[in-house]
Subunit: 344 residues, 3 copies
């Protein structure tokens, strides 16, 4: 939190792929439109936020103002950075100004590392963390305080487990993955068979395989597979408090918002977007590029590229049409009552 | 759990703001209406629970029976405590009889406290807890076993973190706050920009600020802000397994029940009540004193003081009307089918 | 993960209650229909999966193929195991082939066990685990890394807490229970009374009592009772990320899928099945053997043996009928519009 980050706007423009119009300044902070400081940059993605950004009397004192390529900016204004995609620029500026100091390489004396585990020399293992036997922790990894890496787990280079993450045995995680605090990966799936004296447990003999550049939210759970593996593709981001069931296969570059649940053995294609609180039943397929509205309850396959919502989920246009028809129901009911009276 | 709590009914009446009718007794236990013991008090908030409380033949042996000011109680009965608000009295009696023994001040030898951290002398830090550098733990705080207090976090006086809570760096918490086990505060929000090679992460430069007398449930997640802070107002209580997104601002004295999700940048006014499993989309405003029914799916602003429910959420009266009209649908359909036949 | 499990099919047949047709082989792996290996068994529960199992040219080299009693299998085929219930057989084979090595008895030097706690000699307590005073850990128990067993808790014989489980004080758990990582049992329920200066907390004086052979999912929360206990019956299985409120009583042999919430004081009978994401409001009764569809929002009592779904939940036949009638709404609306025109 207390790395003193300062970057000149010439270097910053270079780093984020922007062009600088005006004198170079030094940036230390990223502020929202409407706030000002002499060492701050503000990103205004459209005319409305530009107006907000220039509203304060001292807006001209900003170190820089980032705007789209073609947005006209009235004089006077601070030095401009122009970028084709202000949101992407915002992400890159936020990366450049992130003050986080990474912990130093080394194993905390309060950590517990099993004899047979392999931890790269430049990895960090925090206090009260546990690395079990035959686990492999790659170069530059950070295993946060109290995280548990089970037997035979593998963490690719540059991967970070935040505090209290639990990996059950055999979980394989790619490179540059971030797993947030309290996430649990590789617990048993929810599978039982009815036996004569109650449910008998399906022992889960599969694992979990997570690709590169994945981010997994706090307290999210990803269960291990029954026979094969549960899989999360490269670049996919999963928010907090999601439940990913056994044998689920999620493609690459999906975004899955918080409190979403995906039941066992369902398959999610590449680039799927899910709003918050979505529920996907078991054994369905969501095609590549599909979009699910928040709270959608998916009970059957969703074709690639379609946008669905509702409970049970249907194409958004059908859902909107149903909502419209429901709004006519009062009139329909009045008509029917009158008609019934007139014919009785 | 094993503090031997005993309190005389005269003192208890004084402490909870009740009046005692009858002889003083000693109370050690709070029981539900229908149970009896010579050292127990029972709270009967209405005529029905009074009948249940007096049903057992030995109900007269209770140490005390708390009833509303104006509720008539047939003879014979145990000594009475009278209070204008029996539920409030119940809360205060439960506080008086809580047997919990707080841990002793001091830092457990199994805890890890960074050199630059400041821990009050009368605070308790449990085994396997971690306090990072520049963190400040106030007077009378309790940091439970295995809790992690990130760099630069601040805990106000009397605040308690239950075991395994994780505070990411820079989280500021007020006084007399209770954060239950497994809660994660200050993780990155779920924000990305589409880049040429996949999603690029929005680094979250803001923090989380929590007021006084807040309670946060087990395994609940509160994300840090993008540029500014995510804020929770004084006296607000959040139940288990809730997800509070980046930049959300929740007012004072709200009650938010379990498995509720509030998406990024939404604003919740003072005194809002949310049932379980509510979902609030991003960038909406819920006015002060609004009430959301369990499972409400809020997709737009809710005016102050209104009660909404349904998916998408609408005013409860509209939802009830729609439910009524749906119950007429069979009759409507029958009418239309008959009419179509007669005109064909 | 690296126990070298090998079992002959004669012994395996005996153990799972199957009959062997053909020569004995040695089994080391359980594969899905369509995969083959000389040391593998495949379970084909119906004709379709049998076809998949026999599709590969080398399917005959499988060590065994398990099929229902009466399913005809074309020649050539691998040695057969026959069982009346292939799913039950699958569960038992998965148990026989589970490679997991249990940790050795003993208390890890990095664990913290209070003076007054009682831990059976053959129990295992992992690194960074905490056992508080007056807690009792039974024979053969496994307390995972970083798990917290509060004061006065009791774990029956053979019970396993996975890493980072938190038991608040006084929780009583039966025999052969599995509690997955991050679960929190015994936190305060969500109960407050409106006081003059904001909500006053109902102190929860009750506990949590969990029966035998229960399984509780990762990051699930079960709150303690207000006056009495929250109860989970023998053999009940609860999935990940569920919220069980204060005073809830769940019967025996229920199955409750992920992200389900059950609000305070509701009662769930024996053998109830709940799909994922169900919400049950407070103070309702779900009768024995009832089934709730995924995402059901239960707002009133559900009779024993019935299947309900929807929000608010109704009998599934009523929900299906409503869905049917809604699908007629376009036609109804067209009729009404035409009729309105013709009569105007």
């Amino acid at each position: 939190m207390n790395r003193d980050v300062a970057v000149g706007t010439t270097v910053l423009a270079e780093r984020i792929g922007a062009t600088l119009e005006g004198p170079e300044r030094v940036v230390r902070r990223l502020l929202a439109p409407g706030a000002t400081a002499a060492d701050a940059i503000v990103v205004a993605g459209d005319a409305e936020s530009l107006a907000a950004a220039l509203a304060p009397p001292d807006a001209g004192s900003l170190a820089a103002l980032l705007v789209p390529l073609d947005l006209e900016v009235r004089e006077p204004h601070p030095p401009l950075l122009r970028h084709a995609d202000p949101r992407l620029a915002l992400a890159r500026i936020s990366a450049a100004l992130d003050e986080e100091v990474l912990p130093r390489p080394g194993i905390d004396p309060g950590a517990s590392v099993a004899a047979g585990a392999s931890v790269a020399e430049d990895a960090h293992v925090g206090p009260a963390a546990v690395i079990a036997s035959a686990a492999v922790v790659g170069s530059g990894c950070i295993v946060g305080a109290g995280a548990v890496v089970g037997e035979g787990c593998r963490l690719g280079d540059g991967t970070r487990l935040f505090p209290r993450v639990v990996l059950y045995p055999g979980v394989r995680i790619g490179r540059f993955v971030r797993v947030h605090a309290g996430a649990v990966i590789g617990a048993d799936g929810f599978g039982y068979a009815a036996g004569p004296a109650g449910a008998e447990k399906l022992h889960h003999l599969g694992g979990v395989v997570i690709g590169d550049h994945v981010e997994i939210g706090a307290n999210t759970c990803i269960d291990r597979g029954t026979l094969g593996d549960t899989e999360i593709g490269d670049g996919t981001k999963i928010d907090n408090l999601c439940q990913i069931g056994h044998n689920v296969r999620i493609g690459q570059h999906c975004l899955i918002a918080g409190l979403t649940g995906i039941a066992g053995s369902s398959t999610i294609g590449d680039g799927v977007l899910m709003g918050g609180g979505v529920a996907v039943t078991d054994h369905v397929r969501i095609g590549a590029g599909a979009r699910l509205a928040g709270r959608a309850g998916v009970t059957k396959d969703v074709p690639a590229g379609e946008a669905w919502g509702g409970l049970p989920a249907v194409p958004l246009r059908d859902w909107a049409r149903e909502r419209y028809l429901l709004s006519r129901l009062e009139r329909i009911w009045n008509f029917v009552r009158r008609a019934e009276k007139s014919t009785s």
